[in-house]
């Protein structure tokens, strides 16, 4: 695994070096990644560079930041973080067979993940086959998560701390897309490996879908032989924007082994709705996502483990100055605001009949500067109010974050 990554890194750097020697050799597909296509197009809607007649194109992005956070009056001090380095390699195997992979290094080499590695066969625009490691299309962030596309240092809480972005699994499926006049619609249907019992058995002491990601075996085997089904339908109007509805459901527990019954089958089901639009008059970009999750938690567990979860976020990004700056002709300065909410446990205490809390609110105003469409600098202020499940006075976290993210 390490070897593969290193060799890819090597190939990659050698192209860069080569590129510096003779830029003419490089064909740069530098596209405007802030231009909004369907979220499902995000994997290919990235800048790639290709060297000469070589059949592979390369890309990637990097995200790093500084932060000064304070929790309940206790400062965490000055922190510098290399959140992630992601490399993409794509190749057009033949005219209608494409391969793309996305490798991610999080916090240095603490976590190395293949986020995506699949081969697409196009039969016709409405019918493509995709197989390999695919990103389950639940919500929009999971598919469209590249750092440089976002105006905030942190990823949305509801997408990463409730839904498990980035959530990809081995599997296959079909997808397609069709456009007519101002309208485009697309669908995706996948069967993949799924979750495991850690969603109700983890160190977070709550129902926590992202816990499944730490299973090192999940790309090799399914815990229970039951595929996770994910489906998404999205509709886009060039003037109005895009809405997507998505659904994901599967059995998460190991209910039998070697033919012996261990438990009943327990399902986890998620629904999400996402939308994004740009208000033509003001140029305001609005992007949001909301999800609901239902988990069949064993009755023998306490209410500590939520049976229902919900949460989402909305980002409002307002360009305020579009003028060349320091020689960057496409420079844009944005003011942005993110509002977020996650409730990990929607339910009532059996003992008192009162609501279970276990939720977080957060407000993140941001100032982001895009010298070009592929690079963003962001200055964020974040304030979180997190309430434990009993509803005790919230734990408050606030602070400043400054960072950048750029495609390579």
């Amino acid at each position: 695994m390490m070897k593969i990554c290193l060799s890819i890194l090597f190939i990659f750097t050698s192209f860069i070096v080569q590129g510096q020697i003779d830029p003419e050799l490089l064909r740069n597909f530098s596209i405007d990644t802030t231009e909004r296509k369907l979220n499902m197009d995000a994997v290919y809607n990235r800048p790639f560079i290709q060297a000469g007649k070589l059949p592979v194109a390369l890309g990637g992005y990097v995200e790093a930041n500084y932060q000064y956070l304070n929790e309940n009056g206790i400062s965490k001090g000055h922190e510098f973080q290399m959140r992630r380095l992601t490399l993409f390699v794509s190749s057009t195997v033949s005219k209608r067979i494409k391969f793309l992979t996305e490798l991610e290094f999080e916090e240095g080499t603490k976590e190395i993940n293949i986020e995506f590695a699949s081969v697409d066969f196009e039969f016709e625009p409405l019918l493509n086959f995709r197989g390999g490691i695919v990103m389950n299309p639940i919500g929009a962030f999971n598919q469209n998560h590249d750092g440089p596309k976002w105006d905030f240092v942190d990823r949305p809480l509801a997408a990463t701390q409730m839904l498990p972005a980035t959530w990809s699994n081995v599997g296959f499926g079909i997808f397609g897309k069709k456009s007519k006049h101002n309208w485009t619609y697309g669908y995706e249907l996948y069967l993949t490996n799924g979750f495991n019992e850690s969603i109700v058995s983890n160190s977070m002491n709550k129902t926590f879908l992202p816990a499944s990601k730490s299973d090192p075996d999940r790309f090799g085997q399914s815990v229970n032989g039951m595929p996770l089904f994910t489906a998404k339908f999205a509709l886009r109007n060039t003037k109005l924007g895009e809405v997507g509805i998505s659904y994901m459901s599967g059995i998460y527990n190991q209910f039998e082994k070697d033919g012996l019954v261990l438990d009943k089958k327990r399902a986890v089901t998620a629904y999400a709705i996402d939308f994004n639009t740009t208000i033509a008059k003001t140029g305001t970009f609005i992007n949001g996502e909301w999800a609901w999750i239902k988990i069949d938690v064993p009755d023998t567990y306490t209410e500590q483990f939520g049976r229902n979860q919900t949460g989402g976020f909305i980002d409002i990004v307002q360009p305020i100055i579009r003028k060349p700056l320091f020689g960057f002709t496409n420079s844009v300065l944005n003011a942005a605001l993110r509002l977020e909410y996650v409730d990990w446990n929607k339910g009532k205490f059996v003992s008192t009949g009162e609501n279970i809390s276990d939720h977080i609110y957060s407000v993140v105003p941001s100032l982001s500067w895009r010298p070009s469409t592929q690079t963003v600098f962001r200055l964020n202020y974040r304030y979180n109010w997190q309430t434990d499940l009993l509803g005790n006075p919230p734990s408050r976290m606030a602070g400043f974050q400054f960072g950048f993210s750029t495609y390579l």
């Binding site: 304070n70 009056g73 023998t300 003028k323 205490f349 059996v350 003992s351």
Partner: protein, 400 residues
């Protein structure tokens, strides 16, 4: 530089300056008297490290099937029941059953004394056996326990008045208990026919914080240790699931958690309330001031403390008699709970209070009105107070 550029630059730098200068935008440190957690003053850097390890094990180490939880259990971490080291909520209240006299628990073979009401997937939680009497215990706060542990046995004996020799209707006696084999007996410990004084737990069945901690891992979470190695699931001896070091770290953490700090100490009404507390004999059980003895931990050695307890058992009357007991305590007998930290109870009980051993009292007044038995007189005197005096007394109790 163009005008535009200057504008942009100044906007950016203004942003940065604003951010840095606005330390108001960051949460303020809560005052020491408003929270329960945090160590006693005067720990050495070495002790701070042990404290932090214990803090982590207590609050952040969550047990799952992969690190030993269960198979039957009540909760998944110490912190789930003792949030912020404060009192717990009815949803983590646990059930004990099977003993109705001083002859011991008759239901040990049926899962007694503690009901393991939860289970890992595929396993069955325990159910209350027919015919067993039971009691429900709401988690108490964990603050200042090291100081209470360091109060000499001789003090407790001096406070006790087994036969009510002074005729005030209040006796108070220790729960004489049999020690587990791993106990290190304190210097100056007093014993009675091989039995020692229990001081922790609602029935004072527990000798010290080591026993309490090893028991909590075993009984509350199904985590066995070399101290308590019998599984609650099948009553068989099993391998330790937690290192002794972790248990000792947690014990040190509990020993060095600070005592709650009283608020509004100089407030006139609070002072008047305190006088009333003494006048109507609340202070005969809820002893306002105690002295710790020598302790290996300098920071809790020979300190004056204000816990409002005598750590002794009192007959609290039929209304609080659940028909269940532990050790040599009788069913209506309960150990006087410390009242320090009382005013902060709602910060760990979800904005409300659940007082008395099973959380049945939903306000301080209700708790007082439930006092019977030896506290009958005291309760009556409370009920005869004028409204304004009652309010002063409550205000005092809320300042604790």
């Amino acid at each position: 530089m163009g005008k535009r550029k200057i504008k942009v630059l100044s906007a950016i730098s203004l942003g940065i300056i604003l951010s840095i200068s606005c330390s108001k935008l960051l949460p303020q440190l809560p005052t020491d008297d408003s929270i329960l957690d945090g160590p006693v003053d005067g720990l050495s850097p070495e002790q701070n490290r042990i404290f932090l390890r214990g803090d982590f094990a207590f609050n952040d180490e969550v047990f799952t099937s992969s690190n030993g939880l269960g198979p039957t259990f009540v909760a998944t971490s110490c912190g789930s029941c003792h949030a912020g080291d404060g009192k717990g909520h009815p949803f983590t209240t646990l059930t004990r059953f099977g003993q109705s006299d001083t002859l011991g628990n008759q239901f040990l073979h049926l899962g007694g004394p503690q009901l393991q009401s939860r289970a890992l997937p595929g396993y069955k939680p325990e159910v209350l056996p027919a015919g067993a009497t039971f009691s429900r215990f709401t988690p108490p706060a964990n603050t200042g326990l090291g100081l209470l542990e360091a109060v000499p046995d001789a003090t407790l004996i001096a406070l006790s008045d087994v036969n009510d020799a002074d005729g005030d209707g209040i006796s108070g006696r220790p729960n004489w208990i049999t020690l587990p084999s791993y106990t290190i007996i304190k210097t100056g410990a007093i014993h009675n026919n091989g039995k020692y004084i229990g001081r922790f737990g609602k029935k004072a069945l527990v000798y010290d914080l080591l026993q309490q901690t090893a028991n909590a891992y075993n009984q509350d979470m199904g985590i066995n240790s070399s101290y308590e190695s019998i599984s609650t699931y099948n009553n068989l001896q099993v391998d330790p699931e937690i290192p002794n070091q972790t248990i000792l770290d947690v014990v040190f953490y509990l020993q060095t958690l600070k005592a709650p700090v009283q608020r509004d100490q100089q407030d006139r009404e609070v002072l008047a309330g305190k006088q009333l507390f003494i006048q109507i004999s609340c202070s005969k059980c809820h002893i306002p001031q105690l002295q710790t003895g020598p302790s290996p931990i300098a920071a809790i050695s020979n300190k004056t403390i204000f816990p409002y307890t005598d750590l002794l058992l009192h007959d609290m009357g039929p209304a609080l008699d659940d028909g269940y007991t532990e050790g040599t305590a009788l069913t209506p007998e309960w150990r006087t709970p410390a009242l320090w930290g009382l005013g902060l109870s709602k910060n760990s009980q979800g904005g409300q209070v659940f007082l008395m051993h099973d959380g049945r009292a939903r306000s301080i007044t209700e708790a007082i009105n439930l006092h019977g038995g030896e506290a009958n007189n005291s309760r009556k005197l409370f009920q005869q107070l004028t409204e304004s005096d009652k309010n002063k007394l409550i205000k005092f109790l809320e300042s604790l």
